[in-house]
């Protein structure tokens, strides 16, 4: 898979990381279009107003904590501190899963409030946007599982290749983290 990468590179940034940024731009467009649709539909009236369940703020906190844990895990990895690296990786991953659990709780709360998936579009949008975001977090968790497999399955060694891999996981994770905070703010203030 790395047949072209090691040789004629021009930029400081690794091509795979660049590709990841391009992918993030693409994902961003997906959410930007959903939020624009939200705005356009909102402006048309017949819009049910409701307050976002507080659990969504908790989930944002969980996500931020997870991001921070992974960030330090990466720093310890680079410092060759195996124990802290593994510990924080586990904590970060568990928080990641916890995020999905809290999101699920959020949907339950919405339901309990009488905001249904197939009700007024104002509610449907919240389900659609948070659901699509959760799907992206799920993808992130898949990469975290890969990272865990690498951490515990392979002999500990700091190589350029592993650094790049870990960094990509981290960038993506920060990305979905910030994305959720943006989406939450959007849905509150709109």
């Amino acid at each position: 898979m790395d047949l072209t990468v090691s040789n004629n590179r021009r930029n400081k940034i690794h091509p795979w990381i660049f590709a990841l940024f391009a992918a993030c731009a693409s994902i961003l467009m997906m959410f930007a279009s959903l939020t624009s649709a939200y705005v356009v539909r909102h402006a048309a009236g017949n819009w049910l107003e409701f307050a976002m369940p507080t659990i969504f703020f908790v989930s944002a906190g969980v996500m931020v904590a997870s991001s921070i844990a992974l960030h330090f895990s990466y720093i310890f990895f680079k410092k060759e501190n195996e124990k802290m690296y593994k510990l924080l990786l586990i904590i970060g991953s568990i928080l990641g899963v916890l995020f999905l659990v809290t999101q699920y709780k959020g949907w339950m709360d919405l339901n309990a409030m009488g905001v249904f998936l197939d009700g007024n579009p104002s509610g449907s949008f919240v389900y659609a946007i948070s659901g699509l975001h959760a799907a992206h977090v799920l993808g992130g968790i898949a990469t975290l599982i890969m990272a865990l497999v690498h951490a515990f399955g392979l002999k500990f060694k700091v190589t350029d290749k592993r650094k790049v891999r870990f960094k990509m996981t981290l960038i993506y994770w920060h990305f979905v983290d910030i994305l959720w905070i943006y989406l939450l703010c959007f849905m509150i203030f709109q």
């Binding site: 898979m1 047949l3 072209t4 990468v5 090691s6 040789n7 004629n8 590179r9 021009r10 930029n11 940034i13 091509p15 795979w16 660049f18 590709a19 391009a22 992918a23 731009a25 693409s26 994902i27 467009m29 997906m30 959410f31 930007a32 279009s33 959903l34 624009s36 649709a37 356009v40 539909r41 048309a44 017949n46 998936l117 197939d118 007024n120 579009p121 449907s124 949008f125 389900y127 659609a128 699509l132």
Partner: protein, 624 residues
């Protein structure tokens, strides 16, 4: 200078010497020879990660779909041109979609199936042929070869890009055989026809498979596009500055950016659409009665879908045409033996077109009830697109002016492209005025516009590319005589089909109607319609010449004996005739000058690998 580049295998020639002297050694072959990529038939030809093989896979799949898509148009044109002739003879092919009147024995095309054919024709040609088959093929073939890279940034994702396209193809193909027929609500899939499974026979399983197929397709475009952008920005060889890139690369690059930014929006539209279909939401549905029964959906807006669709839809038409423009620019310059006129202006107009294409989408919705004040905004930007388009046309023509032109098949198609682009671009300016569009919208005038400017022009760009780069793909040439017959048959045929549609459209003939029999006003278009159908059938058969030529030449075409048969300057002609894995057997060539040094200082052409001489100026970069 390196003007004649003969290579018998193993022989050292000037090109090899230049690469040896100025190239750089990335030790690629030290650890990649005999590696897993070459190991067996399956990994070499099927699950290949080599961009050159993937390019051929895209092309051949595209040709397969082109035959099906064009064949469908012939069937529905028969209905339009000859509504009173029996189609019973098509019964063995189409089965129950041909309805036989038991008294008269007369066979007619089922109306639902007419709509399914029109829908599939549009979807297949737009996405599978002119997106995957065109940009998929040539971005893959040319990006690594022309920028001087061993392969794409991620060959594996590149392979997945093809296989997702393949998956999309399989799903769409399968939907053709559903008992309820494939989706039939138009290639734009507007709700409610697309959102309500009970709306028409194709809206159920047919639409489900349509969406599934296009979701796979979106994944394919994104994987491909991310790879193309990354490769262009990160893996160019030494000396290949941005201003030295051939226009093909510029075009593929901007195309890929458009794809990355617009296809996800289509995905969002599909997500909401699928939720409306499967989960009872009402994003796009409101107050609908079916058979006197009110549906529960309230509060949705079908126009919302149109915004999401056309936010992709308009960039999509440029995703189709930009690669064709890139190919044509290159072919014109090589075969006119002249530098492309206004290289930088060409690059800037590609960028301008790319940018503007994101802020004109609502010109497809002037008649959908968008606010007229908002329409004004879209009218202005739509008309502004004519400016960079005109710059490009001017530069192509000026490139030809006093050129030493070789009228081979590739060049003929490139010139034909300009003709088509002018004809179709002009009608775009009519349609871009919302006041005029109120009359023209959804008439045959629109059909004429987009078939000429997009359909035919993009096909011409693709043909020019295939004839020109065929030796690069297969080490052989296509037959020139058949190629020229193909060109003349196609350009005459295409104009014969689409030119008359301008008149019928101006007279108000609506598109997408199965029958005009019920309308007294449209009766007298019967003859025109018949003429168009005959022209379409003839043009279709002319295309079969191309298909035969293509496959015959893969095995039996005239062999390529010199490495650089056209005397071109770009890097793809410095590889061995059949380039192996990693493209260059030894070092990677470095680039010393821009891509368009034709007829410079008395030299017929100067390849990009030849260093600048004392005091010589670089055409693209200026001198630094």
């Amino acid at each position: 200078m390196a003007t004649t580049v003969k290579t018998a295998p193993g022989e050292i020639n000037e090109v090899d010497q230049l690469i040896e002297k100025y190239g750089f050694d990335d030790h690629f072959h030290d650890h990649h020879d005999e590696d897993k990529y070459k190991s067996n038939f399956l990994t070499t030809y099927v699950f290949s990660q080599d961009h050159k093989i993937i390019a051929r896979q895209f092309l051949i799949t595209g040709i397969f779909w082109a035959i099906i898509g064009a064949g469908m148009s012939i069937i529905f044109r028969l209905q339009l041109g000859f509504p009173h002739e029996s189609m019973a003879w098509l019964k063995p092919l189409l089965g129950k979609w041909i309805q036989i009147n038991t008294d008269t024995g007369m066979g007619t095309l089922a109306p639902e199936f007419y709509y399914a054919l029109v829908t599939m024709h549009g979807t297949i040609i737009v996405f599978f042929v002119l997106t995957a088959g065109l940009s998929g093929t040539f971005s893959n073939l040319l990006i690594p070869l022309q920028v001087g890279a061993r392969d794409m940034a991620s060959p594996m994702l590149n392979m997945f890009s093809y296989w997702f396209f393949f998956l999309a193809s399989v799903v769409m193909f399968y939907s053709l055989f559903l008992s309820t027929g494939p989706f039939s609500g138009g290639w734009t899939a507007y709700p409610p026809l697309s959102a309500l499974p009970q709306a028409s026979s194709g809206s159920g399983a047919g639409m489900t498979l349509w969406v599934l197929s296009l979701v796979f397709f979106v994944v394919s475009v994104l994987l491909g596009g991310i790879n193309y952008v990354t490769t262009v920005l990160n893996l160019r060889t030494k000396g290949m500055t941005l201003w030295r890139m051939p226009l093909t690369i510029w075009a593929f690059f901007v195309t890929a950016i458009l794809g990355i930014l617009s296809f996800p929006v289509l995905f969002s539209g599909f997500l909401l659409l699928t939720m409306d279909r499967e989960m009872g939401t009402s994003f796009f549905l409101s107050e609908i009665y079916i058979g006197g029964q009110a549906l529960e959906n309230v509060g949705g807006s079908p126009i919302l879908y149109q915004h999401l669709f056309w936010f992709l839809g308009h960039p999509e038409v440029y995703i189709i045409i930009l690669p064709a423009m890139g190919l044509v620019s290159e072919v014109l310059s090589v075969h006119a033996r002249k530098p492309i006129f206004g290289y930088k202006a060409m690059v800037y107009s590609i960028m301008a077109i790319g940018f503007l294409s994101f802020i004109v989408w609502a010109h497809h919705m002037f008649m959908s009830g968008v606010n007229p004040f908002i329409s004004n905004f879209f009218v202005v930007f739509t008309l502004i697109i004519a400016v960079p388009s005109a710059v490009k046309v001017f530069n192509w023509i000026t490139t030809l002016y006093r050129g030493n032109i070789r009228f081979n098949a590739a060049m003929l198609f490139a010139v034909g492209f300009i003709s088509m682009f002018i004809s179709g671009g002009l009608t775009g300016i009519f349609l871009g005025n919302s006041a005029i569009d109120i009359q023209m919208h959804d008439t045959y005038f629109v059909v004429a516009h987009f078939h000429i400017v997009m359909g035919i022009a993009a096909f011409f760009g693709m043909f020019a590319g295939v004839y020109h780069w065929f030796p690069k793909m297969f080490g052989r040439f296509m037959n020139e005589t058949i190629g020229k017959i193909h060109f003349w048959g196609t350009i005459i045929g295409a104009y014969a089909i689409f030119w008359p549609m301008h008149y019928t459209g101006l007279a108000g003939l609506p598109r997408r109607y199965y029958s005009r029999e019920g309308f007294e006003t449209f009766r007298h278009f019967g003859d025109v319609s018949e003429f168009i159908t005959i022209a379409a059938i003839l043009t279709f058969f002319v295309q079969l010449l191309f298909v035969v030529n293509f496959f015959y030449s893969i095995w039996k075409g005239r062999k390529q004996t010199t490495r650089n048969p056209y005397g071109a300057t770009t890097l793809e002609w410095t590889t061995p005739i059949i380039a192996g894995h990693g493209n260059w057997p030894g070092k990677i060539p470095t680039v010393q000058r821009w891509a368009y040094d034709y007829g410079k200082d008395g030299r017929e052409f100067v390849p990009q690998i030849v260093p600048l001489e004392e005091g010589e100026h670089d055409g693209g970069e200026g001198d630094h």
